[in-house]
Subunit: 362 residues, 2 copies
């Protein structure tokens, strides 16, 4: 992975929820559109588990388009002719921000010596970036999935920093089933002999384990109906079953492709750290056990969006947040959109989402 | 694995759906209750993916009770004071019936040279067992999950062999999502360097991969609500999060336990073969693309049972079978039971299931 992302080093050590500090935290970020002279038009986009700062520009490793190019750009729902969009790689990740692959002060990669972080720690890094960029108050913070967790965390812990909070296909806490799927992925990575307690930098990487972890996660991103519509029981490039263990079915071939492709752009240790942060996320727990308390007196406007086919963070989780915001007296709108793609709907062609996003951020 | 299961060797080679024959197929089985002089009181129980013939007796490897002791025994819903219950290990498995761990004619284990089999092939083995035992017509065939697939296959392909067909928490075909979860498990096993293309007998076994496969499957056996009720976000034997990668949450500890325990009683290659057979299962495809055709003129009575919290083989799959049986003019009853345990409900304490089973088999 040789590329030179735009980044800055935070001037102050970052205090962490697990205790201790992260010194010299580096935050890699991209921006799109001009910042207004009064700095009032900044929108912070928060990325998901395996996302990155390349929201509307080509990924430097894969050469693929940005992950939300359909939403962010000139004339698009998040209009870069009007807004200054900032998207930063979260700490713990591997696209330029400080993470387990970063070099520690002793000159060797942190690997598993990197501190275990939380969603709030990620947001501390993002707030540090905003401070460094001189942006006191965001026009909006927007995120889907884990990005939605960051948006909620920013709203709850730095309530003056965002005027609008848009949370898509997300949750205020990881459920037992959510944790179970992540633990499965972590066990797959740690079972790979190349993982070697995380000390694999400079040698063979635990690609097999990481691919299995990605396959597991990927199943949770799609709906059963979506999988049936896309693949059903169709065979892959063959007239009949092989009576062997090749990828007979298209869905098998697709999953293998998703797994192996992922290993070329993501660091296995980062996958461990970020899934851990998500599993630790419980916004109510951070605020005395009351989710409404997390938003008490919050001056922002909120919008929650869920998808009817999302079984990873189902609509009930968004409703749970809406009820807490209602209890806190915060202005909130909520919509459940119908889309066939499961959790991944927030990244895909759902025109109704475009309208909701455009309407809310304006 | 040293134990001596009751078994017999089929006198005739077993023709297989993939072509070829399996010679000297061995079928390990258990029986409970007396066979009536007119041989009219036999009930065949078909086991699930990781099940075995020890339905109502102690498992010889784990020392644990049989998997359906709550249902099968004197005075129980499947009353061994009245019925002669037969349960056989399916071919491809590893509890005494022919499978990849069996010794091939050349004196070495089959490993991946064992032929890829189908659900119908498993049932061919069961029918061979019934022939050998002199049982022409079953009072009933009963199965849950993969056992239900076998019951359906027996009814469709050997319609004179069973008077009653009871199918619990099952499906007539594996969906794309079902295949995806199994492929994930297979990839986890095959990624384990100890797997060595299946040639691991007599050396280290691919326990890490098999444990991950089991964890993935286990998540699909439970409901989200059930996981939340059982574990929620409770921590395991600690007052607060460790900020590390130990099993902080009870659900993590539980999954690790399920994974590692499984490797002590199951062969990884058998897991590959049996999941493959399930993924290949599509009863309509075997019968000209029409599920109703599979049951045309069938003389048996059918009963289908689903559970409202089962997302592996949801109620819609049972309804699909019921509609086909209706179209075929077969007598069928159907009930969706409410139970919190997900797919595993068929094995657990659901008194309503006891009543349905007792009422149908009498």
């Amino acid at each position: 992975m040789t590329f030179e992302p735009q980044s800055l080093t935070l001037p102050d050590p970052l205090p962490l929820d697990g205790g201790g500090m992260l010194a010299d935290a580096r935050i890699a970020y991209e921006t799109y559109g001009e910042l207004a002279p009064d700095r009032s038009n900044a929108i912070l986009l928060c990325h998901a588990l395996t996302g990155d700062q390349y929201v509307a520009s080509t990924h430097p490793l894969t050469g693929k388009p940005g992950w939300w190019e359909r939403m962010v750009g000139p004339g698009l729902p998040i209009d870069t002719d009007r807004y200054h969009v900032i998207c930063a790689n979260v700490i713990g990740s591997c696209l330029g921000s400080s993470g387990p692959a970063s070099i520690a002060p002793d000159g060797a990669p942190y690997a598993m010596r990197f501190p275990v972080i939380t969603i709030r720690d990620m947001v501390r890094g993002l707030v540090g970036l905003l401070d460094a960029l001189g942006i006191e108050r965001l026009h909006a913070v927007v995120g889907g999935s884990m990005g939605g967790m960051q948006a909620l965390s920013l709203a709850a812990n730095w309530p003056e920093r965002a005027q609008r909070v848009l949370v898509i296909a997300s949750t205020s806490r990881h459920s037992a089933q959510n944790i179970a799927f992540h633990e499965l992925g972590r066990q797959a990575i740690m079972a790979d002999p190349n993982w070697r307690q995380g000390e694999y930098y400079g040698s063979d990487t635990p690609d097999n384990g990481l691919a299995v972890a990605r396959m597991a996660a990927h199943i949770t991103y799609l709906s059963e109906d979506g999988l049936t519509a896309k693949f059903g029981r169709n065979l892959q490039d063959r007239p009949e079953k092989s009576f062997g263990f090749d990828a007979d079915f298209q869905v098998e071939s697709y999953l293998r492709y998703q797994g192996s492709g992922f290993t070329r752009r993501f660091d296995a240790n980062s996958y461990l750290y970020i899934t851990r942060a998500m599993d630790y996320f419980d916004l109510a727990e951070e605020h005395g056990g009351s989710l409404a308390q997390a938003f008490a007196g919050n001056p922002a406007r909120f919008c929650l969006v869920s998808f009817d086919s999302d079984w990873l963070y189902p609509t009930a989780e968004s409703r749970h947040i809406v009820h807490a915001l209602n209890a806190a007296g915060a202005p909130v709108s909520f919509v459940e959109l119908s889309a066939p793609f499961g959790h991944d709907s927030f990244l895909l062609d759902v025109p109704a989402l475009d309208r909701v996003v455009k309407g809310f951020v304006e």
